[in-house]
Point group: C2
Chain length 468, copies 2
């Protein structure tokens, strides 16, 4: 078979671009750094949204929608925040045919505008916690764009909450981190993530704690898949989010924010893709079983209808491809590229023996299965392949994670994988030095895997890597 993609081992970034283009996931938009998400890619994003949305609502948060345009002055109220975002802002200077009196920025994130309204809605301790989430587009001007991973406009959810005390805010930020994000990434995306705390140098502009989930891509780099922040009282003070406390007196609230974005689609590709295309984990897949008519012939249409009906009845997400006017080989290559977990190939030769062929994307196996046994075989394969993809990613990550004894060794190792090193051998100065070699501290974790409350805790482990 002619090679369809640049092999991963030959040129990973090129392979990634090839896959996105050939699998019809996305295109570059006409304005530099923007992207067009095509139906194949968008269906995956929709599945991510729907699963995460249910999890977020289960924590008690409600969805709302805040404006795209934010007065420039809002960003300036929190000092670190404006410093963090200023270089990335898109600014609207003209509206309705006139120059605006005050330019407005296109939201890079909505902390500030949501802070303004939280202040309005929070009067008493009875109004807390105030748990809000929004699904929206945001804009951060990108100098080195890469589709899905780093685009000037991207889609995301951003949660923003206000709490009566620090502990409640912390518990909530961590509940989102583990119950919503980590559980989703591990059990739905089948991506192992290293969950830890960002160093003070790496944390979000205006946060007191930033928690992160870091995936390892096929070329051994780190990809930040999501973050959850404690903002302390910084935004509450900047926007006057205060309330009359239960015990009397006026207090400032404690706020959090947390988000995941279309970047996860890029992560999915970079973790699970192979030289034939994407492999979508069954629990996520918009199309779990792709039923392909190989060629028309006796009994083919009947078998196809029966297989489709039985799979649908069993709750399997199916799609049929009966375009026999296109060569089967080309259609099969396309299905591999798009990563449908199971292909069910139905043709007259197999049907004459009462069989169809089940092709599994995860391991490339092809097995004849009797028409009677299709549904069970598909359900079993979907379950097994969800697990197989996760296990493979765990093995791959372990193979590219190395314990390092010194900072220099860690920087060296981080050239091609994760370096694991005692944080006290790195420290603030070592971190700056690593940055000069394009290596960053991805996160800090406790020895037992727990997430620390401060970078000053003793005995922490640092993960160093290059990153996307």
């Amino acid at each position: 078979m002619a090679r369809v993609l640049t092999p991963r081992a030959e040129d990973f970034p090129r392979w990634y671009q090839d896959l996105i283009s050939k699998a019809e996931m996305a295109d570059n938009g006409p304005v530099r750094g923007t992207m067009v998400i095509r139906p194949t890619g968008y269906a995956i994003w929709e599945r991510m949204v729907s699963d995460l949305d249910a999890r977020i609502k289960a924590t008690g948060a409600e969805n709302a929608y805040f404006p795209l345009f934010i007065p420039e002055s809002y960003l300036k109220r929190e000092a670190e925040h404006v410093e963090g975002f200023s270089p990335e802002l898109a600014v609207v200077t003209h509206g309705g045919g006139k120059k605006l009196e005050e330019p407005v920025v296109v939201r890079p994130t909505s902390e500030t505008v949501i802070g303004e309204f939280m202040a309005k809605w929070t009067q008493s301790y009875r109004d807390l916690p105030l748990l809000l989430n929004q699904w929206a587009n945001v804009v951060r001007w990108e100098m080195r764009p890469r589709v899905f991973l780093r685009t000037s406009e991207f889609l995301w959810q951003e949660g923003h909450t206000a709490h009566a005390d620090e502990q409640d805010a912390r518990d909530y930020a961590r509940r989102i981190l583990h119950e919503v994000y980590e559980d989703f990434m591990v059990n739905v995306l089948a991506i192992p993530v290293t969950v830890g705390r960002k160093t003070n140098r790496e944390r979000f502009a205006g946060a007191t704690s930033t928690y992160t989930l870091e995936a390892q891509t096929g070329d051994g780099k780190a990809l930040q898949m999501g973050t959850s922040h404690e903002l302390g009282q910084n935004f509450a003070k900047a926007f006057d989010i205060s309330f009359s406390a239960k015990e009397g007196g006026q207090q400032f609230a404690w706020t959090t924010s947390w988000g995941v974005s279309t970047r996860m689609v890029g992560g999915l590709i970079m973790v699970h893709g192979d030289d034939n295309g994407l492999r979508v984990p069954p629990k996520l897949a918009p199309i779990q079983a792709y039923v392909m008519v190989v060629k028309d012939g006796d009994g083919v249409a009947e078998a196809t209808d029966r297989v489709l009906a039985e799979l649908r009845a069993a709750g399997v997400r199916v799609q049929v491809n009966d375009r026999t006017d296109t060569p089967f080989g080309r259609r099969a290559v396309d299905a591999e590229l798009k990563g449908y977990p199971i292909r069910i190939e139905i043709g007259p030769r197999d049907i004459a023996e009462g069989n169809v062929t089940i092709a599994r994307r995860t391991d490339g196996s092809k097995t004849p299965v009797s028409v009677d046994g299709v549904t069970k075989a598909v359900l079993d394969a979907l379950e097994a392949d969800q697990k197989a993809l996760y296990d493979q990613a765990v093995v791959a990550r372990a193979a590219k994670t190395t314990d390092a004894a010194t900072l220099d060794e860690a920087i060296e190792v981080a050239g091609s994988g994760f370096a694991r090193i005692a944080w006290d051998k790195v420290g603030v100065d070592g971190e700056a030095k690593a940055n000069q070699s394009a290596v960053s501290v991805r996160c800090l974790v406790r020895e037992d895997g727990g997430v620390p409350l401060s970078q000053d805790e003793p005995g922490l482990i640092a993960y160093l890597a290059r990153s996307y």
Copy 2:
């Protein structure tokens, strides 16, 4: 009871603003003309999205996402289109701390950028029809903003399709009009809509046919709830959307576009709201049954749990309010404002007799019902009230629709309702004259209610009204 809202009859626009604010539907955003959609309002929008999305997908369309930013030059390619939108554009001149070489506009609609990509993806007749939809925010700078109805930024879906011939495009635009939009508005929103054709003067910038669905608000004005356009080959020629035809040769495609927006939330309020607040039709309602603990006491918690469990099992969307630290009256007023179809009030006095009280928002009735009978009573009431709201809206519209014999009479009548008049008594000159009195031709329909193919068909009826 103290009056909560300005009465509708006293000042309808003021009543509308009051309701939106007191029912916590939305707030004005900090940048003029923008809005903050609060959880109560957003939950209604989410239900609209989810119902419509399924209908749109059932027609074969797929979701995708195109960029927020469009090069200014794109809009200029279709002459009428640029003329139609120029006065409303928001323009980004600075990005990433620098002045941009070419300013970009924030999409007012995505015809142009989608046209550009359709051209890329359409090679052969096999690629058609190409049926795309996107859920997105768009920006049209508003001089006279009104929350939900007319905002500088709003949320919508915009469908864009390309077809091999005119008939296929027309059939699809009309399928969206009737099967997706009309059916949804009538059967879910419980809003009667007048479905017809826009005059050439009123049609979308760049379209050859614009079909519209017009609701009548409580004050007798027209509200355009959605539109579906045939764009002929205008955009196909401007963006070179061409394909090799089945019968050989290169041809231009025929395109359509169609959309509905957060404006529907405003329509819902203006059609179904009353002096106590919103009334949400049961099929749409995010919360269909609102279970209120009046006061704690013997058996109350048990009955509440049982009622909740049984309603959930029956598929009713429920929410409980057991905040007995807030006066019951205030909570009940809030529930009326937000328009939950059914309130189930559970207190010790009723429970002593084995009863709860079912309060129906549609007619204001309050009925004691035995705990055993709650689920059936709720299901019956939800069904009846869905119908009742629609029937009331039909009656209200009929009361404010008048046949007119002359243009002057029609303009007079349109001051407070719909005027129905033979289109040949209005004509192009009469339409211009009506516009001078702030009255417009909302749509043209055939005598049998059908939607005409041209404004030149004989025997058409015109609906004239003031509009939001």
